[in-house]
Symmetry: C2
DNA sequence: CATTAAATATCGTCC
DNA sequence: GGACGATGTTTAATG
C-alpha cells in the first residue's frame, strides 16, 4: 500500500489541514525536551487540523509520542515512507516516523466541532460553594476574601472565626504532603501580620504523612467532597440525575 | 449509516478487544472524578484493546473525554445510537456518548506492538551522569549516596565538600518554586542531624522567585542541562546525531 | 493498595 | 512570553 501516490496524498491532506489518520507499522524517534525511540509496532498516527500530532500505541492514555501545535508534518518517499514532523516554535522538537507498512489511511475534510466542554465538580466549584455556604467551613466562619492575594500565592479562603484569623486551603482530591506544606507556609506567613491565626485544609481525604504535619502545626483538617455536595453551578443546573 | 447492524458490529468488535475507531458527530456526558458535558460536534472515538477509551476533538493534545482501563463499553441502539462506557473498578467513572451521525467506522484485529519506548535525557540520566562525574557538582564533591532516603523523600545526591554535608536536588527542566522549597525542606531537615550543611539545586534554569528563596536560604544554584551533556546511556548509544 | 515524585506532563490565567 | 497552580492530570517506583 506504500507508494509515491500515498506519499503525495498524505502531503496534500496535511496541507489542507485535514484530520488525518494512519494506522501502520512504524518505528519512531523523538528529540526535544527529552529524547526517545521505539522500534517497530502497529500504531495509529493522528494529525489534527490544528497540527497537533499524536502517535497512539495499542494501550494506555498517553500517546507513545506527540507534539503540540504549531507543527509541520511532511511525508517523504524514497525507498521507504517517512513522516517527518517538527515544531515550528520554541522549544524545538522533532519526530521522525519510519513507516514500514500502512494498514489504513484516512483523511476527513469539513469536520465541525462547536461544542464547548463544560466541567464542574472542580476545586473552583468547591470554592464557589463555600463562599455562599461559609457555615460548612465552620458554623462561625465569616469570609473576608476568596482568592486573597499574598506574596506566597492566593489563599483559597480567608476570614475569621471569632477573633481568630483563618486561612483555608481547598483540594478537590485527596490532600498530600505538598498541600499540607502549603497551608503550613500560609500560616507561618500570616502569623507575621496578624494574630491569632488558624490554618485549615479541606479535602475529601488526606495522606497519613500530611495529617501528621497538620497536627504538629495545629492546622485543622476538615473532610469535604465537592462531588457529594448539591451544586447549583453557573448555568443553574443540578446534579440530581447523577447523584 | 446508523443501524442495528452497526450497533451489533460495534459490540462484536469491542467484545473481541479490537482497536476500534468511530469518527462521528456526537455529544458526551461524563461523571466520575468530576463531571462534564459537551454538545454536538465531530469527534473521533478510540477504544484500545486494553479497553482505554479516548474521545478526541479536532484540536489539542488532550482527549475531550477519556477513561483508563479497565472499562466496559457497550453500544445500544434504540431510536438513537448510544455508546455507554464505564470503569469497572474504583473510582467509578462513566461516559455516555450520544452518536448522532457516523462518518466512519473501523476496527482492526491482530495488531501487534512489541516496541518498548526508550526515553533518555531525563532527570534520572542527569543523576547517573553526575554520579560518575561528581566534579561537575563541585571540584571537591565526594558522593556518599545517590537517592539517599529520608522521611522527607529521596535526596537526589548526598555527599560532602570538605567538611560540609551537601544535599543536591536535580531538575531536568527549569526549576520553579516547588523545587526551591523542596531543597529548603531538605536543608532544614538535614541541619537537625549534621552540620554544617550546604544545599544545592542543579537545573538548566530557574525562575526569579525560586532564586530569591535559594539566596535567602544560602542554597547554591548551579546551571546544568542534561541535553547538553554527552551521554552514554545504558545501551551505550550516543546522542551525536541530534546534538 | 497507598504514597511519592517525575513527566516530552498539559492547560488556563495572570502579570 | 514567563510564572504559577490545577488537572477527571498519567505514569512509574516503592513500601
Amino acid at each position: 500500500m506504500i507508494s509515491q501516490e500515498l506519499c503525495d496524498r498524505i502531503n496534500r491532506d496535511l496541507g489542507d489541514r485535514r484530520f488525518t489518520l494512519i494506522v501502520c507499522d512504524c518505528s519512531i524517534e523523538y528529540y526535544g525536551r527529552s529524547r526517545s525511540e521505539i522500534g517497530r509496532g502497529h500504531r495509529m498516527i493522528v494529525v489534527k487540523p490544528d497540527t497537533t500530532i499524536l502517535i497512539h500505541s495499542l494501550s494506555g492514555f498517553k500517546p507513545v509520542n506527540w507534539m503540540s501545535p504549531p507543527t509541520e508534518t511532511i511525508a517523504e518517499y524514497e525507498k521507504e515512507l517517512l513522516l517527518h514532523s517538527q515544531r515550528t516554535k520554541k522549544p524545538y522538537e522533532e519526530i521522525k516516523i519510519r513507516i514500514h507498512d500502512v494498514l489504513d489511511y484516512r483523511a476527513y475534510a469539513n469536520l465541525i466541532d462547536d461544542g464547548r466542554l463544560d466541567i464542574t465538580h472542580t476545586e473552583k466549584d468547591l470554592q464557589d460553594y463555600l463562599v455562599s455556604h461559609p457555615k460548612l467551613v465552620h458554623p462561625e466562619f465569616r469570609l473576608k476574601k476568596a482568592e486573597y492575594q499574598t506574596p506566597l500565592g492566593f489563599f483559597d479562603l480567608y476570614g475569621k472565626i471569632g477573633d481568630k484569623y483563618v486561612v483555608v486551603e481547598l483540594k478537590a482530591e485527596k490532600a498530600g504532603l505538598p498541600a499540607a506544606l502549603q497551608v503550613k507556609r500560609y500560616v507561618e506567613w500570616l502569623k507575621q501580620h496578624v494574630k491569632p491565626v488558624q490554618g485549615m485544609l479541606m479535602a475529601p481525604g488526606i495522606t497519613a504523612n500530611a495529617l501528621t504535619i497538620l497536627r504538629k502545626e495545629g492546622i485543622e483538617f476538615k473532610k469535604i467532597d465537592v462531588r457529594k455536595i448539591y451544586i447549583k453551578h453557573k448555568k443553574n443546573k443540578t446534579l440530581g440525575e447523577w447523584c
